[in-house]
Amino acid sequence: MSTAGPEGANGATTLRNAFGGVLSFFILLLIGVLAFSIRLFSVIKYESVIHEFDPYFNYRVTQFLTKQGIYEFWNWFDDRTWYPLGRVIGGTVYPGLTLTAGTMWWILNSLNIPLSVETVCVFTAPIFSAFASWATYLLTKEAKGVGAGLTAAALLAMVPSYISRSVAGSYDNEAVAIFALIFTFYLYIKTLNTGSLFYATLNALAYFYMVCSWGGYTFIINLIPMHVLLCILTGRYSSRLYIAYAPLVVLGTLLAALVPVVGFNAVMTSEHFASFLVFIIIHVVALVYYIKGILTPRMFKAAVTLVVSVGLVVCCAVVAVLVALVASSPTKGWSGRSLSLLDPTYASKYIPIIASVSEHQPPTWPSYFMDINILAFLVPAGIIACFLPLSDASSFVVLYIVTSVYFSGVMVRLMLVLAPAACIISGIALSEAFTVFTRSIKFQLPGLSLGSQVESGDVTSSVAVAQNSSTAVARNDVAKAEKAQEASKTRPSKKNKKKEKDIVEKESVTPHSDRRHLILPMEASVISIFLLVLLGAFYVIHCVWAAAEAYSAPSIVLTSQSPDGGLHVFDDFREAYAWLRHNTDVDDKVASWWDYGYQTTAMANRTVIVDNNTWNNTHIATVGTAMSSPEKAAWEIFNSLDVKYILVVFGGLVGYPSDDINKFLWMVRIGGGVFPHIKEPDYLRDGQYRIDSQATPTMLNCLMYKLSYYRFVETDGQGFDRVRRTEIGKKHFKLSYFEEVFTTHHWMVRIYKLKPPKNRIRGKTKKLKSKGSSKRSVAGKRNPWN
């Protein structure tokens, strides 16, 4: 491999390289356009709105940032959520997304492009998914060459799992975090391949951006140490590994501690311990290698025995102290979410508030086929391809896929971390397959000019031409030959590095000569290529369908297809929030289940008691208890929190399944976890959750039931709930402590007001039957619907 081809071939190679470079540039550009445009279905089909729940909070924060500036944002104490506790937004939010969108808005505005903050927020995710696919290209290129990189980038641009979190309007942390994640990995691999401190520093900066963006950064700070450990254990330790890892831990931890929400967690919580442990190990290993270099083998052996015996004792002591320290904390130093990652049953056993979130549930098998589709089949092939040959980079990719498969199996939302790994691995698999098949065809096609060259025997150079990845290698060789002359002047340390580089490249190159044996029959190759293209086409069709149909709904606006093909729009949420905004006092407090907290503050601009940032379990449990209590007790709880309005979501009329009655058991569980007088069995009839006539009296008298089904019987005369597919148990009842003030068009959101305490307290004598009083009760009933 050290020899370059003949003069003419060399010139042709340069031309081909230039051509390939331009081609891959345009391919990447198109991939970016694809990644951006496939995410616009939500804007085209619905409108340019922020989706779902968390994005509304991020949007509100971004608005604050653009209005008040970064220092105010940093010190923002929000008194409109978590009443009366308030929330220190600046210190509890991952600022990456907000700062990114805020910066984009600021740049656009200073260029006199007057876009609204909302528009910028809506399109942040699509833009960053284009970046993410480019980052995927870079990462896969580092691992397996340009061809695999392009394939992986194309796959990632439209993988449904990622689309689900990054359609236009899905303005959530993951939108930028996935890009940051892949880019950090790319820089790590790049540093590992080059041993350059420059890239190591960039890597720490990328890690900093990731820490700013998403709590998932702990995945990076655990995966990279795992890989480092793997390399050390398999005897692949090198100074490049040290350069890739040590600066990342030192700089990365320092930078991470600068993010207010992380702060001292960067050195205090167990999630980060692995990185420090490996940091120690890599130093020990480096020391051992250094000593090995200066001692004779016999002396080295003696030193090892000495150090191991002493070190073992010290280690035992340190471990004992650590274990004692960690064991003394109730959660063993781990946060609830992380613990539920290690032990998938942890959350459902101990923390109902984590288990109650649907995206924290384990995924079902179909969701794998839905979210990563054919990649699920290609991943095993890609893993095999990664072992041919196994380099530092490809072992990292394998480790990445293995861990992310595990995590995705624990929490459905971590499917998002699996998606890039699956794309990279599948890209490698597809690219390798295409290489093999196209080469087989090329070998057997007589008309190709390449044929003669191949016949002439210089196998390696022809392979280098045929395969982009090896082109890069060949180019490296040329460059290296030039550098080799300078090598004599450079310092010995650099020389060592070069030598190692040689070894790596030799490893990666040697198998090319073996591939000569992998030449397949012409027909088989053609059919296989056809089948692979077909497979890819199915993938594209599935992705476009998923983007258009499955993942584009903004969830605040719902649509349904009527039998005659017309489109029916349910805009009840915005209707309700607009009502609140226009008809209630600015300082009024609105209570609802925490799901609707972010939307209420952002869209209705009213103070809420609890919201989607579920940091205070007791406060949420208080609201859960109120919802599961009878009217009077609930009134007292809400009154003590200065609540004026209560918002419930009810899907029984139109069949909207994610309503409060379906979430109700979680309210009971979370409430019961803090206030033991709420007992789940009281709400279940023989272990079954039901709201029909068989339901328990506790269930039929709790506030949530009453607020959901108040006057429901007036709609169809029977009170048939279309979500639970049953007739409700208690149909005719009156509210004595609450009054209905607003119900949306499809009854999806119902707003109630707390009645003020009675002006007078009645005597004990039974009410005398007088016409006056009955007349009065009719007149006094304020019913907007009659």
Binding site: W74, R762, S770
Partner: protein
């Protein structure tokens, strides 16, 4: 056309007039509707009515069964107060009924109810809705064989001389009532669970409620301490209601007659009725014991502007002005028991306010080391006074990033350690790289 215009003008001015009459500041023109069983009461109780008139009230006498009765016109109330001197009415005339009376009270207006032994179910149910239960036995009266009023004829001891008043200057005025009250009528009990109703005139422990003309077969249901003769209610919206079991208590005859309580030698030329009823009516019509709190102010110590948010550990001043309505003007209210809470789910600070005797109450304290949305809360509920409950919301934020101490003395060893490490590393690198 002109007539119509005049009619409209009149209607509007009437509305405006009645609107104005609601405000406490207007001295004259407050209107009271007096409902009577028959118009003879107008003259037999004229002293009471004249005392009301002399205090600036316009009295509107109507028969309780008058077909044109109405408390409001165009959703505006025409009266500030209602006096029900019609114990036997079974049904009000016109648009008035139980519900209308209660709505009148619930919109903040005042009510005097006087019953007697002929009290109808309607009157009793009005009282019940206010938290007072008259004896259900229609023929029962209050009898007291120990503290009855001595008169020429021995009688059946239904004319009582009661002198067990509530001790409250706000309700009964500063001057002590010397003479006992003559009372003849029915008794009532209070809802023990109600904090709004207060017994003003209690019967003696030996009093009971029974039919005086028949022999007692069962023990009477209402006796001694449970028996109340006159009670007042202050609703949550500060509407005031006076309920008396005796209409004749208000009569000229009782006002003027002398009284001697059985078993005592003291003879009074004049009963305490006039003073008692007059003072109580002043209270009912908000001429006494009506407080207002204005100018709630708070600011950081040394500043004058009210901030939108406090920081933890700020020192702040809090002040409020409280006045009492004297019947003519707002006078400074002086008390030493007004407290302010700095409240978030529970009071973090509870301070008694000091007064400058001119109505201004003031205190200063340090904001607790807890951030959140706090309230300045004044909950002042004192017997006989309208309840003051006001709250003002104010967020308390944590320190800004640049409000912490920059250099902490106790951390100097750490600063030293990091700087020496840096210097040591620099020197080491220098020697390692260039020493050879």
């Amino acid at each position: 056309m002109a007539k119509l215009a005049i009619a409209i003008f009149l209607a509007i001015s009437l509305v405006l007039f009645s609107r104005l009459s609601f405000s406490r500041e207007s001295l004259t023109g407050r209107r009271i509707l007096v409902l009577l069983d028959d118009l003879s009461i107008k003259s037999s109780h004229s002293i009471f009515f004249n005392s009301l008139r002399s205090r600036g009230f316009d009295l509107d006498f109507k028969l309780a069964e008058d077909k044109s009765l109405s408390l409001q016109r165009y959703s505006q109330y025409l009266y500030d107060g209602l006096v029900l001197f019609s114990p036997s009415v079974e049904r009000f005339g016109g648009a008035l009924d139980l519900g209308a009376v209660l709505d009148f009270v619930d919109s903040g207006h005042n009510l005097i109810i006087a019953a007697d032994s002929s009290a109808s179910d309607l009157i009793k149910s009005v009282a019940t809705e206010c938290g007072v239960d008259f004896d259900e036995d229609p023929s029962a009266m209050v009898i007291d064989h120990n503290s009855y009023a001595v008169s020429e004829t021995e009688g059946d001891h239904t004319l009582i001389a009661a002198d067990d008043f509530i001790e409250s200057d706000a309700i009964l005025g500063k001057n002590k009532i010397e003479a006992p009250i003559l009372f003849e009528g029915i008794g009532h009990s209070l809802n023990a669970g109600s904090s709004l109703v207060v017994k003003v005139l209690s019967a003696s422990p030996s009093a009971y409620s029974a039919n005086p003309s028949s022999k007692l077969s069962n023990p009477p249901s209402l006796t001694g301490p449970a028996l109340s003769l006159v009670s007042v209610v202050q609703a949550r919206n500060n509407a005031r209601i006076m309920i008396s079991g005796s209409l004749s208590m208000f009569s000229n005859r009782f006002f003027r007659s002398g009284v001697q309580k059985a078993g005592t030698s003291a003879k009074y030329k004049k009963s305490g009725n006039e003073q008692f009823v007059t003072e109580l009516s002043k209270w009912v019509f908000h001429e006494r014991g009506h407080l207002k709190a204005v100018n709630v102010r708070h600011q950081k110590v040394g500043e004058t502007d009210e901030p939108a948010v406090y920081r933890i550990k700020d020192d702040l001043d809090f002040s409020v002005e409280i006045y009492e309505w004297s019947g003519k003007s707002w006078e400074p209210y002086v008390a030493d028991d007004v407290q302010v809470q700095f409240y978030m789910m529970s009071p973090y600070v509870l301070n008694t306010l000091s007064t400058d005797q001119k109505g201004l109450y003031h205190t200063s304290f340090k904001v607790p080391d807890v951030y959140g949305v706090f309230q300045f809360k004044i909950e002042y509920h004192k017997l006989g006074y309208t309840s003051l409950s006001l709250s003002k919301q104010i967020p308390v934020r944590p320190f800004r990033h640049n409000e912490y101490e920059r250099f902490i003395t106790t951390a100097f060893p750490y600063y030293g350690a990091s700087f020496t490490t840096m210097a040591g590393f620099f020197i080491f690198s220098f020697i390692f790289l260039y020493h050879k």
